[in-house]
Subunit: 273 residues, 3 copies
């Protein structure tokens, strides 16, 4: 099934509008091209409606947000809703500041989302309507491990139901759920956390996948998560003893570029709960 | 002749002021250093006149424009004109939104440009004073191919004449013309379109080339286009079966860094029409 | 001693708040992760106090500054002071425009700084309260060489004393001083100047080092400078004849990622004056 989702990305070449942070924006653009999609970045309130209209999907990422871009996010989100385009939200750092928490919560309230992709702390912040995270990384206390998985799945399902969207919580084990069915995904490599923006990149990928598979947001988001993790595994195997996180970043995007539907189908490691 | 143009870049190390988008800005800076130039990025209206004054050329790229940076583009452009510095415009996404189209047209009207570098859809938008493009990539219907080349050259020449600037239309075949003479360039590789910002990088390169060769804007722009395409060819030959667009991006900049005037002279594939 | 400083970075994983330019921000984030720290980027005045409060240190870089971010720099700087967090200033392009010079001088006046890291022209601008630089690179006339070293050390010490902070002047020979003691560092490679943002990256690294070694800002800053230079040497040795500045950039970050305290201790080349 993940292979089929990727096949549809390659076949339809979804154009994704991104309003995203300036830290990882280049990687987001390159990974969208790598998967077979096409990126456009635009964040001025005066043009986001038109830009969203020529695209098939919208990816909103609140890292390095500011009052100018927040307004653009809301305008673009409403326009995408009007046109029936899927919208992905990456609530980067929700819980770390009032501005981020409130912006994320406001987007959740005012925009119909197809997928929210974040770490467990960020999703907990959205679920609680408040919270604290250590910077943009997940609190260790929140980590999803084999021990806490059952509880985390229950939490993710309840949140997906209450927010009416697919929730993708990524970490050592990833959980993707629409409230009924949860994919528990064991792809990936710990070294991925030493690169800035693997989460941002995954959110962009997810937007491409859900845009190309509009009838299957849950399966599409799960496939995107599997593909990112699998790319992390493939890229890790290429590293020499001199390579570090910068080369690793390049190799992950390379692996997304080279990934075939067959490879993804065979390499995806998930169970459904 | 392209070799001589590069020689002058290496000899004079042109300092280029860039007002550009935040998606590909790092690549633009690194490719300017790679070719032998030197970049400075500054987009605040309160400093762009001074920054432009210490530079030799100006590169204006309207990707991720906003009201704050649009003002800075116009101020910097007028100052560069006053000082006789060459100005390159990259009308990223002109046609995709009113804001981009109107901004590009306003810059064309208010700033004397040495070169406009864009894809065929963007240049058509400028020529028509309006238009539509699919995001930031060229419409397939507009593609310059062997079949449409003659018509495209005529269009490019007419546009260059009417706008009073060198026009560089890049795609499968590139056309660079001052209205009288047109270089049709067949360097490059299709895989270049899988990297974000090869166009932006080329515009930055072009600014370095025209700054270093002020008497020969047509030949300088054509040489810059040849060098980018040749770098795409050289970089492609280095790729292994595991490499994708991220490594390709690095190798293209590397190839610009290593390129000698002799190599460019020998590798440039162009005819004059 | 430099090895011990790195050991403390790895042990404490300092979270560094960065308000920095959009040109090199991704590299700054990745090099912070590479050294063992953790980055968070946030530049909106409405959230920088909270973000700085969850971090251990603050890195202010004035490249691509604008009125919105200048305000955020000052707010964050004052908050960091209140909390006793070390603040690093990178006065990118001070001397190139009034806006940059005045902003840098204002930060120096209003924020207590642990370290100022810049090239000799930028530091001279701060010392003089005015000045000129050629773009963002140091004036050749200002270069620190064996011939001018003694004079430069005296200048650096006097500046450190009068500004009440550690001064790190980087170039062919680097000088790091608190006004009493000066480290003269001979690590690095000339090719580092062909990459955009090695200075910005070093400032981010320095912030991680001083955050992890709060009692030893001079030694921490000197260790950060040694580590960056050593990474430049290690990365240079990996380059093939086809590699250029883009691959070099990746390899430098990789070398920071792989660097052990023992390697830094053995490879650091400094004398104390």
């Amino acid at each position: 099934m993940p292979g089929k989702m990727l096949e549809n990305v390659r076949a339809t070449r979804p154009l994704v509008h991104n309003i995203t942070n300036y830290v990882t924006v280049n990687d987001c653009a390159n990974i969208l091209l790598a998967c077979g999609g096409s990126p456009i970045m635009a964040d001025d309130a005066n043009e986001v409606e038109e830009i969203t209209a020529v695209c098939g999907g919208l990816n909103i990422n609140i890292g390095t947000l500011n009052s100018r871009t927040i307004e653009a996010m809301l305008i673009a989100g409403r326009k995408a809703n009007e046109l029936g385009h899927p919208v992905v939200l990456d609530p980067v750092g929700a819980g770390a500041s009032k501005l981020r928490t409130e912006t994320a919560l406001r987007i959740v309230r005012e925009v119909k989302l197809a997928v929210i992709r974040g770490n467990i702390s960020e999703i907990k912040t959205l679920a609680a309507g408040s919270g604290t995270t250590k910077g943009v990384d997940a609190d260790t206390a929140d980590a999803v491990t084999e021990e806490t998985l059952e509880r985390a799945v229950a939490f993710a399902k309840a949140t997906a139901k209450s927010l009416g969207t697919v929730i993708a919580i990524t970490g050592a084990i990833d959980i993707v759920t629409d409230g009924e069915k949860a994919y528990c995904i064991r792809n990936g490599h710990p070294m991925m956390s030493t690169i800035t923006g693997t989460g941002c990149q995954l959110s962009a990928l997810t937007a491409a996948y859900v845009t190309a598979n509009p009838e299957h947001p849950l399966e599409a988001a799960a496939a995107a998560v599997c593909s990112m993790g699998l790319a992390g595994e493939i890229a890790f195997r290429r590293l020499t003893e001199e390579d570090g996180n910068s080369t690793y970043r390049n190799y992950i995007i390379d692996a997304i570029f080279r990934m075939t539907p067959e490879q993804l189908e065979a390499g995806a490691k998930y169970e459904i709960r």
